[in-house]
């Protein structure tokens, strides 16, 4: 079996997912993992695709492009040779950040997270236009390698948020077993 990362981005329209996945289905590929979202009117998809050993990047690229020729999709296919098994998991937390838009909010907060070995599992940002100014919002899910540093991390985040002029909070995303 061979594995590939496929990314495709283009102006949103009906049928993008249907056509891209039909092309992959024609090649008898599986979607091992995927994330797709509309980003400011552009539809962006990133997929981990598994298929037969004889598949290659060019073959997948051509199959997708022939199905999607009129969609103006920017498509990229890269082979990934081995399965990644770096254990960056830990106790999960949700971090919320918001404030007046300015450069460096994401970089500033994520620098603090990295320094505390908080690994980002998921991140989404949105800009909200509120008349005169824009408000920037960011929500992340992170895994903390060592939850003993939580208090220290929280303090560092609060400090950095103050420098950036934004509000930042962190809370446990524990699930409840039923």
């Amino acid at each position: 079996m061979s594995r590939f990362v496929l990314t495709a981005v283009g102006p949103d329209s009906y049928g993008i997912v249907a056509r891209v996945t039909a092309a992959l289905s024609d090649l008898t590929c599986n979607l091992a993992d995927s994330r797709m979202s509309n980003l400011s009117g552009h539809f962006a998809m990133i997929l981990v695709v598994e298929g037969a050993n004889e598949l290659d990047e060019r073959g997948i690229y051509n199959a997708v492009q022939s199905r999607c020729s009129e969609l103006s999709l920017l498509v990229d296919v890269k082979r990934i040779d081995e399965e990644v098994d770096n254990d960056l998991d830990g106790e999960r937390f949700v971090v919320s950040v918001y404030g007046t838009d300015r450069p460096g909010i994401v970089a500033g907060i994520c620098d603090v997270l990295a320094a505390h070995h908080a690994n980002i599992f998921d991140l989404a940002t949105r800009v909200i236009e509120t008349g005169a100014s824009s408000v920037y919002t960011m929500v992340l899910e992170v895994a903390l390698r060592d939850s003993a540093v939580l208090a220290e991390l929280e303090e560092a985040l609060t400090h950095r948020a103050k420098e950036l002029g934004v509000t930042c909070s962190i809370r446990s995303s524990d699930s409840e077993e039923l």
């Binding site: 998991d89 989404a124 899910e141 995303s173 409840e176 077993e177 039923l178």
Partner: protein, 166 residues
């Protein structure tokens, strides 16, 4: 008494509505005892519905005693043929389930409920409760309807991977 094997997502019994129990037999009593033992012996578990142990009959057991999100608490509940009479004040909580061991998900459910059913002695029981006990009742009743929490998920970004159940 015995600890029962818990069916996982993909097993057809989890996706069909459970049969109503018209007569509580000794077999049902043994099943309830085994479900209770299975629940108490599984770390973190607060409830099990019969379809989760491969039996498509309308019965669940639940005990949320001592849980940090519990308010009103009826202790051990064994209920056949439950029906939701009222449900209000929805809240979103991230749930895990023994039958979906690799995922958790943000699920919106009522936090105030009144549920009616039949207890192990065949008597009608009406349970008015809130908070975590309400969530537990609704989660277990969903199993009896052939629904997993994935059927109730708050959106595609509300489903999360985890390594295993606890």
């Amino acid at each position: 008494m015995a600890i029962l094997k818990v069916d996982e997502i993909g097993s057809p019994v989890l996706s069909v509505a459970a049969r109503r129990v018209d007569q509580i037999t000794p077999r049902h009593k043994r099943l309830a005892e085994d479900m209770i033992e299975t629940m108490y012996s599984t770390p973190g578990s607060v409830g099990i519905a019969a379809p989760q142990v491969g039996v498509s009959e309308s019965l669940f057991v639940l005990d949320v005693s001592g849980h940090k999100k519990t308010n009103i608490c009826h202790g051990l509940i064994v209920l056949f043929n439950p029906q939701i009479l009222t449900a209000s004040d929805p809240v979103v909580i991230r749930e895990g389930c023994m039958s979906v061991p690799h995922l958790t998900g943000d699920v919106r459910r009522a936090s105030q409920v009144v549920v009616k059913g039949v207890n192990i002695d065949g008597e009608e029981q009406v349970i008015q409760t809130d908070a975590f006990e309400a969530r537990g009742l609704l989660h277990e009743i969903d199993h009896l309807l052939g629904k997993l929490f994935i059927d109730r998920i708050d959106g595609p970004h509300a489903l999360f991977k985890r390594k295993r159940y606890l």
